[in-house]
């Protein structure tokens, strides 16, 4: 979105000037590219390759067995369920926050932006801890929950709450800069011509932000499904009951079932790769 034209501009300049004072000597260029690729190779490509190599190390059948085992399937179900709860509410929050921040001017906007970012600065373990302090057996609402026979910690609601907390800034952070860059003129024109607020949002704003919104949802979903630290605190690791996919991976790994752990991990890695693919596609779409 921003920099789409600028990027193209620099590329033609850099491409046209093969040598001379505006670019580096050939040797420096090769060294820098080599250095960057080596760094990314060691930190990104090797781990990525390892997941799939280890996952299929004992053959396809072992892979399928690890993925279709009942505990793995129930972990998949719980992960999908938690994401299905967390993503829609964070989507609503992201839309509301972006509408308020990008379309209006008000005092304390920077403070509000900082508050939205707050969960990014909180360690996942602390994020899980605060919900234990609130809803755990010895927590603030613990006795009340117990007397009403409600379970939040070591159960689905706790997992969903911790996931919502961790992923709450993602959609908002994706939409705010996008909507700020787009400005208000079209919406103002629609309202001036008599459109209702809802019509303006649905017919004007939503189509303008659809790709950014889609990426926000996808990223939020990937993070919700992959959340580990916070969920680890509130889940209690009850196999087949409160184990999400990342927790299942941890248990398998700690039981020295390495190849099974990587088989389940490969599912989460695929999710990450699809997320990256979609991001590239969206960037390519909006650059056109």
């Amino acid at each position: 979105m921003h920099g789409g034209g600028g990027r193209l501009g620099t590329s033609t300049v850099a491409g046209a000037e093969r040598s001379g004072p505006l670019t580096e000597p050939r040797l420096v260029r090769f060294l820098l590219i080599g250095l960057a690729l080596a760094f990314l190779g060691f930190f990104l490509v090797i781990p990525l390759a390892l997941v799939f190599v280890k996952a299929f190390a004992d053959g396809f059948k072992v892979y399928l067995d690890a993925v279709r085992e009942p505990a793995a399937l129930s972990a998949v179900r719980l992960t999908l369920l938690a994401a299905a709860c967390a993503v829609p509410v964070n989507l609503l929050f992201g839309l509301a926050a972006a509408w308020a921040i990008a379309k209006f001017r008000f005092a304390g906007k920077n403070l509000l932006l900082t508050l939205i970012d707050l969960p990014f600065a909180v360690s996942p373990v602390i994020a899980g801890m605060i919900f234990v302090l609130l809803f755990g057996a010895h927590g603030l609402f613990g006795p009340w929950l117990q007397s009403h026979d409600l379970k939040v910690i070591f159960a689905l609601p706790g997992i969903v709450l911790a996931t919502i907390f961790i992923t709450s800034p993602l959609v908002a952070r994706e939409l705010i800069p996008l909507m700020q860059a787009q400005g208000n003129e079209e919406e103002e024109a629609a309202v001036t011509l008599g459109a209702s607020g809802w019509q303006t949002f649905r017919r004007i704003s939503l189509p303008k932000i659809r790709w950014g919104l889609l990426y926000g949802i996808v990223l939020c979903n990937a993070r919700a499904m992959g959340e580990f630290g916070a969920v680890s605190v509130v889940s209690g690791h009850i196999r087949g009951l409160t184990n999400t996919l990342p927790l299942h991976v941890e248990i398998l790994y700690n039981e020295y079932q390495f190849n099974a752990a990587f088989a389940v991990a490969s599912l989460l890695t695929l999710l990450a790769l699809v997320t990256l693919l979609l991001k590239s596609f969206i960037e390519w779409r909006s650059a056109r």
């Binding site: 308020a100 920077n110 508050l115 927590g139 907390f165 580990f228």
Partner: protein, 309 residues
Amino acid sequence: MESVEAMPPIPPVQPIQPELRLPLPLARGRGRRRGNHVLPGFGLAMGFTLLYLSLIVLLPLSTVLLKSLTLTWSAFWATVTAPRTLAAYRLSLLAALGAAVLNVVFGIVVAWVLERYRFPGRRLVDALVDLPFALPTAVAGIALASIYSPNGWLGQWLEPLGIHVAYTPLGVVVALTFIGLPFVVRTVQPVLADLDTEVEEAAASLGATRATTFRRIIFPELVPAAATGFVLAFARGLGEYGSVIFIAGNMPMRSEITPLLLMIKLEQYDYPGATAIALVFLTLSFGLLLLVNLLAWRRSRFLRPQEND
């Protein structure tokens, strides 16, 4: 050139004053003074945002403060300054710092290469940079632990050289470098893309060598963005848990990070102890977040005239 001379001179474009953009009667009610409450939905959107933030983020977080008020000062101090706690704080801070420094150096190189050079597979590499954002931390953790374990893909070559990565503080730095990798690249890249190459041309035409141009012209422009990326990577590394615990070995006093110590306290139902450690840690993290935002506000104030052209 001739066609340009033949054309009539272009009158300078008058910037539209924001308050003149709309007929005044539309700016009604509360918003009249600021003149921008033309669009509806401010109350609803703002109300929902504040309610949500309070219920999901602020109220839960305040329990840390609330709970720590029930501690006596001496109990709080004893937990926070226990040798094991101090060792965990030190490891978390130093490892996050080391990883952030690595990421600043290599992040600038990666951003430069992706933005300025063309080579096969560039788009793929560019897309891959975001992998640590999207990959679950537990998956990264087991992959890195497996790679650097004494008989792993890289560990088997490093071990004979006397370099022990897995189950040492160095392993923590490796994991945190992975986690913080995208931050510096993604903050520096747009600045490089928007950089005016005319300034570089001017420097070159005035006789500056390429190295001087980079050092005196380009690098100073990158510093604020790189600083933001550095603090973001540092803050992310401080709190990181999933990718670290598999590779760290988790020996108390040596390779135990603060989030893990918290986890252990929670598993022992030592909630007061966990709260005390968390309070110190949260204060530090929020300080960093504030720093990032202050940097961002300064940058956006500085950039605004260019954005509105």
